[in-house]
Symmetry: C2
Subunit: 449 residues, 2 copies
């Protein structure tokens, strides 16, 4: 099997749309993207409705279905669209979803028929608000960046940074799904137990080491039965698409609580995802083959195949941007803190799906898998402030003389992602943004530094 099998005419870079903003080279949403999300007109009380993005517009998919814009396999997929959540649509067979993508692509291209009918579905993006695209059942967070695992391990366990299981087991744990929200949601600084090594006892206080984690989120499309596993060859067929994920973390709570059962309150107060699910089909041109070097442990057979190595991960550029209250007051836009790339993850998406199910655990449509923090090899490519400030010891310098070790109230954090490759249109993810608001208990803050 060669990579070409996954490419088709919807990846041809020269195709343009009659929605002219989609032809802007800077847009995240050219006709080659066609991500899925849930929108409503800003300020309305309507249920959220399924849509795609094209340039600076969204297309209401229920409206164009109503206008008779789909047929055949595309209509089969379209029939699963409903207000409220994308889950039923996401569980459709790959063949029907592909037909649906082809129908969107044809209709929105310059050669598209029924342009009048499609125009009835267009709404300017600036007029809409987005919700979570899917009802998330279970949320699993992995730990796929060996750079992150090593850097954080060094801070928590200086003698023993990378544990012996790391290069054998795609390490992951279960996260909290109820507190996952969509980009734009405020994040309240959490209260929790903090104990420094020098304290005799812990105290309850707002986190003083509040952090972001730069992650890629993978949405499960088709499920598997409890007791049945998914082979490495079938694994990616179960993924519907990707979003950006900010797994906000309270490092002070984490250090005190995480043994022996892992992070809990340090992570479950909030997570944020970007609203657009960029499909696996749209990302097909950007595969990044991944071969273990000969001096590394080779994956166990259930996690290994030539196809898995050849398809590998994705060449997806990731960025973190920060704007402080002072920057906002001075009219300064967000400042880029770092860049990394999803292709540097130690485990592929297929390996995560296969490992998750090898014991028979059932994945369900709408489940979210997080990649874990994506850090580059260089210290400046840390995917969290914990890394960029070396555990809070070396403040990160911002323009205007400010510094950050961890997040302050009113800081806004934006994640961006971009898949780009010579010969293809660049695919963007939109943004994943969150702003910190003060804790309810700031007045109880302990005076100790």
């Amino acid at each position: 099997m060669t990579m070409a099998n996954y490419l088709d005419h919807t990846h041809e870079p020269e195709v343009q749309s009659w929605v002219t903003s989609a032809n802007d080279p800077a847009t995240d949403f050219p006709i080659q993207n066609l991500p899925f999300g849930m929108y409503r007109v800003h300020g309305s009380n309507e249920e959220f409705r399924p849509c795609t993005a094209i340039g600076t517009f969204i297309v209401d998919l229920l409206t164009v279905r109503q206008a008779g814009c789909f047929e055949g396999h595309a209509m089969t997929a379209a029939n699963a669209l409903e207000a409220g959540t994308l889950n039923a649509f996401m569980s459709q067979a790959a063949e029907d979803r592909r037909a649906f993508r082809h129908a969107l692509f044809s209709a929105l291209s310059l050669l598209g028929n029924k342009r009048a009918e499609w125009q009835t579905g267009l709404v300017p993006m600036r007029e809409v608000e987005m919700s979570l695209p899917a009802k998330i059942g279970d949320y699993t967070d992995f730990y796929t960046s060996v750079n992150h695992a090593t850097a954080v391990g060094r801070l928590f366990r200086p003698d023993n940074p990378l544990l012996p299981n790391y290069k054998w087991v795609p390490i992951g744990y279960h996260g909290r799904s109820s507190s996952i929200g969509v980009s734009g949601k405020k994040v309240r600084r959490p209260v929790g137990q903090i104990k420094s090594p020098s304290d005799d006892a812990p105290r309850l206080a707002p986190s003083q080491r509040l952090d972001y984690e730069l992650e890629v989120g993978m949405f499960v499309g088709s499920p598997n039965e409890l007791g049945e596993s998914i082979t490495i060859g079938d694994a990616e067929k179960h993924l519907f698409g990707l979003v950006l994920l900010n797994d906000w973390s309270a490092r002070d709570f984490q250090a005190w609580e995480y043994q022996p059962l892992g992070p809990f309150l340090s992570k479950n107060f909030s997570s944020t995802i970007s609203p657009w699910i960029v499909t696996m089909e749209a990302l097909a041109p950007f595969r990044a083959p991944f071969y273990r070097s000969a001096n590394e442990p080779q994956p166990l057979p259930y996690l290994d195949s030539e196809e898995n190595r050849q398809r590998g991960s994705l060449d997806l550029k990731l960025e973190v941007w920060l704007q402080t209250k002072q920057m906002r007051a001075n009219g300064q836009s967000h400042e880029r803190l770092m860049q990394s790339n999803f292709k540097d993850s130690y485990w592929t998406m297929a390996q995560l799906v296969t490992h998750h199910t090898v014991g028979g655990c059932n994945l369900q449509t709408g489940d979210l898998l997080g990649s874990g923090t994506q850090s580059g090899e260089d210290a400046a490519q840390g995917g969290s402030l914990l890394e960029l400030s070396v555990g809070g010891k070396i403040p990160y310098e911002l323009p205007g003389g400010e510094t950050r070790t961890f997040l302050e109230d009113e800081d806004s954090v934006i994640f961006l992602a971009r898949a780009e490759k010579a010969g293809f249109r660049t695919i963007g993810f939109g943004s994943c943004e969150g702003q910190i608001v003060a804790s309810h208990q700031n007045n109880q803050q302990d005076p100790r530094p």
Copy 2:
């Protein structure tokens, strides 16, 4: 506030039911219990319907609602009953739920009116099958038994059995909700990575250290908003009721995978709960005050109140029973392996709810909180085979000359629970049963012992 505030006429032991099997002293379901579950007639393809249990019968609550059996506040609660799941009913206001309990109690007592209408709802328990009572969003598992934490800690970390955070933090972690099933479900032996200390590399194999964990599960009734916490005084108002929970565990996978993010595949292949939610109201007579001894760390203020100490935990006797394939062939019934009591848990239910939400994490109706394995102080009171066999080193002796270190294929495990106290009718939980079936990959089993 005194305990008497939580008691009312539904706890009077002398009240009997016209469903005479409910008056049998050995029943789990006297008229003082009235738990909630979801049933259908065995073998039918109907949606599951809400019911209560009385002696050897269930009462179909939609049928008796239809027959005009409720009014006032009880009718408000009854209107939230629907086929499929109990969630809407569970989220009703405490006042309405209490009125509903009172209505059931009156109608099923010897003085009950409308006996003919109520009889239309009766179905013999032997004719029904039960489903999960609620749609479970998030599942959190705690670690409240200090005896279990110490015994297991000694096996995993001989030098450091009880970690320094244990007596300050109600340790918990997020579990997998998709793989939770109801009593009676078969449990397939999972496959996963195993590495003994003497092995150079892990291998993929069926678990050879498959275990149960004896837990109490708590169902969340009314939710809290993201970003808002629940005080210790309000905490129990958010609990709807309790079930038994078997958190099946693969100890060999667990030892290899659990650092640094906690258990994952070792726990997520299956969990089993009993079908009847025994309400907090039914359990009111069985409170077990819990005072920390003076030489223990006292709980931080957010986890402490005189009411919390006085209400404490619950005096709930827990038991584990086992039947092997050989015992079944010989006509031997299940053998009791151990007994423990939920009152010995180190943290109260209220402390778990308050800790879970102190950072703003939102609990939702239908969320399940596990107590963690409930082990007694004595070594014979271990809540798992890991403890009873001292890490697999001392086989547990069964009648007929068999022994067990961990579970074998076709072993059936039953958990039972009973709240009993002089002057009150005994309340039972029904049973939580699961039987192990062979792994799909038994033919790949490694020959090493």
